[in-house]
């Protein structure tokens, strides 16, 4: 299985340097329109095991896609930068009943 990277060209270049060949480049100005499609596409690919994104890019996604990205297990979406624990934190609160991430 492979790793995919979704984000602005400046975000993906470094990963390409490390050898990752599956990436979707969406320029900052097009993120509102094109990011949804790019994320849905990589989430639907069968040989992708991990999707790397920038945490701030999640804000550009529509509600459904964002939820899919945050809850997807295969592939799992790993976010870099920013807080990155929002969804998981909510989930822990709901499942266990206390906020364990304080």
């Amino acid at each position: 299985m492979r790793i995919a990277v979704v984000g602005a060209p400046s975000f993906t270049t470094g990963f390409r340097l490390a050898g990752i060949d599956e990436f979707r480049e969406v320029r900052d100005e097009n993120k509102d329109e094109d990011l949804d499609e790019a994320v849905e596409e990589v989430l639907g690919m069968e040989d992708i095991g991990i999707v790397v994104m920038h945490q701030d890019d999640l804000d550009y996604l529509s509600r459904n896609v964002r939820e899919e990205a945050e809850t997807s297990v295969e592939p799992v979406v790993v976010t870099l930068g920013g807080e990155g624990e929002g969804q998981l934190r909510d989930k822990i609160k709901r499942a266990i009943g206390i906020d364990l991430m304080e």
Binding site: M1, R2, I3, T13, G14, F15, R16, L17, A18, G19, I20, D21, E22, G49, I50, V52, T71, V73, E74, V76, V78, L80, G81, G84, E85, L88, K91, I92, R94, A95, I96, L100, M101
Partner: protein, 239 residues
């Protein structure tokens, strides 16, 4: 509640409900143990995850700094050129591990770290800064793989904890109380029926006794009458 409509007040139903209560209570206990076990396991993973998150952030910052430096000093074109020359792609393999019935993945990466010579770009045309940036990103990918494994495990375990918790609560607050209500209803109903039966028997007995009494009375009356008529006839014959 419409327990009265669902259960019939018979001894057979009462036995069935008692069996179901026993089974539900056993299930409740088992599920409760499972939930507690899962939460314990989750706590362990949570600690690990916080460490990995910290690493991830620091690795990302370091990698970004290095690539920015390379970009600033060697130019964007050189960095992009080196990036597109890469031949080997990192691969990951998924294996699964079972934690208390939850299948969590174990992800292993291969070909993540490469030697300078394996990276595909010409060493003569690129600078050491690009090598450093590539190395930093390789390190970052390694951390991402560990983070992916832990975060998937956490998501799956949280789902399972939620599911188990819902089951425990459904048994504890819905099914078992309903079954107990049904049991109580049948028991009360059976007791009432028993009392009614005793009352009915008493009534029948009373009625029977009364009838016997009446019969005896009638018999006595009849005997009396026949005696009187016998005496009367005897008197007339003696005359």
């Amino acid at each position: 509640m419409a327990i009265e409509d669902e259960v019939k007040p018979t001894r057979k139903d009462l036995m069935e409900i008692k069996d179901r209560i026993e089974l539900s209570e056993q299930g409740h206990e088992t599920l409760e143990k499972k939930r507690d076990g899962l939460i314990m396991e989750f706590m362990e993973i949570l600690e690990e995850s916080q460490d990995v998150r910290d690493h991830l952030e620091s690795d990302y910052d370091a990698a970004q700094k290095k690539i920015n430096k390379a970009r600033a000093l060697d130019g964007d074109v050189a960095v992009r050129g080196a990036a597109s020359a890469l031949a080997e792609t990192p691969q990951i393999t998924l294996e699964s591990k079972n934690i208390m019935g939850v299948v969590v993945p174990q992800i292993e990466g291969s070909k993540v770290r490469k030697d300078v010579g394996e990276r595909g770009y010409s060493l003569l045309d690129t600078s050491a800064r690009i090598d450093e940036a590539a190395e930093a990103y390789e390190q970052l990918i390694e951390t991402i793989i560990i983070a992916a494994e832990i975060e998937t495990a956490m998501k799956k375990m949280l789902d399972e904890i939620e599911k188990t918790k819902r089951r425990v609560n459904a048994l504890e607050f819905k099914l078992i109380p309903e079954l107990k209500d049904a049991q109580e209803f049948i028991e009360l109903r059976l007791e009432e029926m028993e009392r009614e039966e005793i009352f009915r028997l008493k009534k029948i007995k009373e009625k029977k006794e009364q009838e016997e009494k009446q019969e005896k009375q009638e018999q006595r009356d009849a005997e009396e009458e026949s005696r009187l008529s016998d005496e009367a006839s005897a008197a007339t014959s003696s005359d």
